[in-house]
């Protein structure tokens, strides 16, 4: 009953509540969290009105934006283009844009954003829309067969090795850097991300990291708190801060009842089923705190030999953690992929902790499928009491406390211009102008605040006032944005290697992990199998070049 009542909270009702809360609060304070204190007031005085105005289109809680809304936003954000391109300057230029059509977002937004740009500049854009599942294969085929038939490409940073590393992308002109205000990017999206051999290729339009989503009601529940003490657990009952605590809490919750919805209580939710390579990110999120040492930028491969670290004690410990906690997880967990853990379990009221991209936070209050909007909390990924030092082969306990290493999974979407436009200066300028328009500072704020498929990724996106002004609940948005900002700006963030074929490595690992979780291999022997398969893959792709690109992606010479 409670569930059905909760389920009926929709976006409109949420905004009403949020508005009431804001009115009650009276004052909207500037960001005061650790991660946000540095980030407020980033909007320029001149840009402020535009930002405020676009956030009213259509207004949070007033239904999903439509094509006309996207066009309006695109038109209102044309200022930077107009200052660099004269009207009709690109007449006769035709560009081809390849991107995704996930959930009718991505390219659908870009079409709307770019219509006013096309009208103003005179250029025409042709579109290649791809489903997520077809994207990797289409891109790889284009690269391998030398049939790059697009001028602008929406692409994730992990593919930079395949594209930029092979000289297929166009170097970003200096004026684009000024137009999009690259200094506004959060720390981890700055170079080396988006660069190869010192050259910049990418306009970021998204930021990606895994954060920690938890059910606050579990950790405020007095019954569970009493049981925790009664069962002799150390410390107070509260939100776990380390993976060791996550393990303990997950095992403790077995056999207990969900404090809000009354069903079986569960702790952390592990996705044990493959997801086209994307499932590996979730083991990585468990492993980074163990494997990413603050003194070493590498955590997945050795930076000197390209030898996989996936079978070192840190990774094996993360795999073993999953094995240990599986009996405490929902009965069908072996067949749960990340989509299941986030949307069918956590948001639907099953389980109390999950790692995911920002989608869980952005959907928890706005999706009809979510029942946890009022009881959800956010943090960076848990840390670990000790961290494995690959250089010494020992576990270090840091004097600063637990080791935190947020997983910058996927590093977000970006827009790239292909090298094939370089021979035509007019076309090159047109392509970069179009890319700069959709990657602009103001337009990106709108994309972060409304359904777009993109997370916040600029320092200026973390000005809570702007979000509250658009209709978001302050406490909620503060918690959500802090978890994102503190992950992005973490000094020990684990940056994903941008090497060719990275998803092939992940896909192979998924198959082996499935066997480990099904009990066919031990954590160590399964991890050894993954490492062996990765070594083979590295040799197949080309070890020398792979190592060179890996080092470049880590910012090493």
């Amino acid at each position: 009953m409670v569930m059905s009542k909760k389920k009926k909270i929709n976006r409109r009702q949420f905004v009403k509540k949020a508005s009431t809360a804001v009115a009650g609060a009276g004052v909207i304070a500037a960001g005061s969290g650790t991660g946000l204190s540095l980030l407020s007031n980033s909007a320029s005085a001149a840009g402020h009105d535009v930002r405020k105005d676009i956030l009213k289109i259509p207004g949070v809680g007033k239904g999903s934006p439509t094509d006309s809304d996207w066009q309006k936003v695109g038109a209102m954000c044309l200022g930077p283009t107009k200052s660099r391109v004269s009207k009709g300057e690109f007449k006769g230029v035709e560009l081809t844009f390849m991107g995704l059509n996930n959930q009718n977002l991505h390219n659908f937004l870009f079409r709307g954003f770019l219509k006013p740009w096309e009208k103003y500049t005179g250029a025409k854009i042709k579109w290649i829309d791809l489903a997520q599942a077809d994207y990797n294969a289409r891109l790889q085929q284009s690269i391998a067969t030398g049939t790059v038939d697009f001028d602008i490409l929406e692409m994730g940073a992990p593919f930079e090795g395949d594209v930029c590393g092979k000289g297929l992308a166009s170097e970003m002109p200096g004026w684009v850097k000024d137009q999009i205000d690259m200094d506004d990017y959060v720390g981890y999206l700055k170079a080396p991300v988006g660069t190869w051999d010192g050259k910049t290729y990418r306009i970021s339009i998204d930021g990606d990291c895994h954060n920690f989503n938890y059910r606050a009601d579990y950790f405020k529940d007095s019954g569970l708190a009493s049981a925790w003490v009664a069962e002799g657990h150390k410390g107070m009952w509260g939100v776990p801060r380390t993976w060791q605590q996550v393990q303990e809490v997950s095992k403790f919750l077995k056999g207990k009842k969900d404090p809000t919805f009354g069903g079986d209580a569960y702790g952390y939710l592990d996705p044990c089923k493959g997801w086209g390579g994307f499932g590996f990110y979730f083991l990585a999120s468990r492993a980074t705190a163990y494997a990413k040492h603050p003194d070493d930028p590498a955590w997945l491969f050795d930076a000197d030999t390209m030898k996989p670290r996936v079978n070192n004690p840190a990774w094996v410990r993360a795999i073993q953690d999953v094995i240990d906690v599986l009996p405490s997880q929902p009965p069908n967990q072996l067949n749960a992929d990340p989509g299941t853990t986030a949307f069918q379990q956590f948001l639907a009221g099953t389980g109390s902790m999950v790692s995911w991209w920002g989608d869980v936070g952005s959907m928890s209050k706005t999706s009809d499928g979510s029942v946890v909007g009022d009881v959800v909390g956010f943090d960076i990924l848990p840390g670990s009491d000790d961290v494995y030092n690959s250089k010494t082969g020992r576990w270090d306990t840091l004097s600063s406390g637990p080791n935190f290493a947020p997983n910058m999974a996927y590093i977000g979407w970006g827009v790239y211009v292909m090298a094939r436009v370089d021979g035509n200066s007019k076309k090159r300028k047109a392509a970069w102008s179009a890319a700069a328009h959709i990657g602009g500072k103001d337009i990106s704020l709108w994309a972060s605040a409304y359904p777009s498929g993109f997370q916040p990724y600029r320092n200026s996106h973390f000005n809570i006032d702007e979000w509250v002004g658009a209709g978001y609940d302050k406490a909620f948005i503060k918690s959500y944005l802090e978890s994102e900002a503190n992950s992005y700006n973490h000094p020990n963030a684990a940056i994903e290697p941008r090497i060719p074929g990275i998803f092939q490595y992940y896909s192979v690992a998924e198959d082996e992990l499935s066997k480990i979780f099904a009990g066919k291999h031990s954590a160590q022997s399964g991890a050894d199998n993954i490492a062996a398969a990765w070594e083979k893959l590295t040799d197949q792709i080309g070890r020398k070049k792979q190592l060179q690109l890996y080092r470049a992606s880590l910012g090493l010479s």
Partner: protein, 363 residues
């Protein structure tokens, strides 16, 4: 009535020479284009085409020239050849050439991300396949899945007998039983595998709970997941077997049935001694077609379990799909597909021969 045979004697020599010349010139041009492109792509010469498309165009021109040349040379007999030749040339282009090309690709180490592109590797992919536990695991799974056809056949036969009898709403049931076959396997995956069999709220799980299974999870252990997958696939394809068998039952001679009744045969004797033997040819055809369908099983597995847990539900096709789509491993993926094709051809040939011999003995 007499059949007029049209020979080639009446065709002028000049015309025949022209026909032969057209065929010869077009053949030489095709061979030349192919050779140039091959040498260019293997870096032996410096001129050639950017891609192989001109060779395809040349093949089309050659095909037209061949047909026209034969017409000039053979006259009316050439016209008769034209009834078959275009289809043959089309088959070469669309079936035989891709098959040969697949074998060629399978002999290469070709990962789409590899810096050096494709490299000839001889039988390395085959050797790797022999030691690939994932491939042989999925092959073993295929044996389990194929054995399930026996159960499917028994159920389908029972349903066909039922629908062949004079039951109420017979037409309704015939259509109703056919519905699963009309559904896309992807829809079946979501409707049944991910909704009805959902472990918390799915009706199948609720029913299982009421029957005493405390924590019903249909894809949580290797054995249960494999059986669940068999049930999902059977639910889709039993109607196909049923409709084939029903058609066979309806074609049986009524006189034989009536004679058996007059002779006092019991229901079981009637089925086992008369209906079943008479239905053997239909049964074999149905089962063989079903085996071919089963060998291609992939979509349900990909959607519901991705081959898990631990490879328990993997099929050869779903594994090949992962190797291609997720790992861009074109050379190895093609080798797996080629080997699978050869195994299927050998097995099906043996099966048909054995069945043929058995049928001859029985009849």
């Amino acid at each position: 009535m007499s059949i007029n045979y049209v020979g080639t004697d009446h065709i002028p020599g000049q015309r025949r020479t022209l026909g032969k010349s057209i065929i010869l010139i077009s053949s030489v041009l095709l061979a030349l284009f192919f050779l140039i492109q091959f040498l260019y792509k293997s870096d032996s010469i410096t001129f050639g085409f950017d891609n192989w498309r001109p060779i395809l165009y040349m093949y089309l021109i050659w095909s037209v020239a061949l047909c026209y040349g034969l017409l000039l040379i053979k006259g009316e007999r050439g016209q008769r050849v034209l009834f078959v030749l275009p289809a043959f040339l089309f088959t070469i282009a669309m079936v035989i050439f891709p098959l040969i090309f697949s074998v060629y690709i399978s002999l290469h180490d070709w990962n789409l991300s590899a810096f050096e592109g494709q490299k000839f590797s001889g039988l390395d992919n085959f050797k790797a396949l022999l030691g690939d536990e994932y491939y042989w695991n999925s092959m073993l799974n295929m044996v389990y899945y194929l054995l399930a056809i026996l159960v499917e056949y028994a159920i389908a036969f029972g349903l066909a007998l039922l629908l062949n009898a004079q039951i109420v709403a017979r037409k309704f049931f015939r259509v109703a039983f056919l519905l699963p076959l009309m559904l896309s396997p992807v829809a079946v995956s979501w409707m049944i595998g991910k909704s009805l069999m959902e472990y918390r709220f799915g009706p199948a799980a609720t029913l299982a709970r009421q029957l005493g299974w405390e924590t019903p999870a249909f894809f949580s252990t290797t054995e249960i997941a494999r059986i669940s997958m068999m049930i999902l696939d059977a639910w889709t394809f039993i109607p196909f077997m049923m409709i084939m068998l029903l058609a066979g039952l309806q074609a049986l001679s009524k006189e034989v049935n009536e004679a058996a009744k007059i002779d006092g045969a019991t229901g079981w004797q009637h089925f086992w001694k008369i209906t079943f033997p008479l239905m053997l040819p239909v049964s074999i055809t149905t089962t063989v077609i079903r085996i071919i369908f089963k060998l291609k099983m992939a979509d349900i597995v990909i959607n519901v379990t991705s081959g898990g847990p631990g490879g328990a539900t993997d099929t050869v096709t779903s594994f090949i799909f992962r190797e291609y789509r997720d790992r861009s491993n074109v050379g190895y993926g093609t080798m797996m597909a080629v080997v699978y094709l050869i195994i299927i051809i050998i097995l099906m040939t043996l099966l048909l021969k054995l069945l043929n011999r058995w049928m001859q003995k029985v009849t």
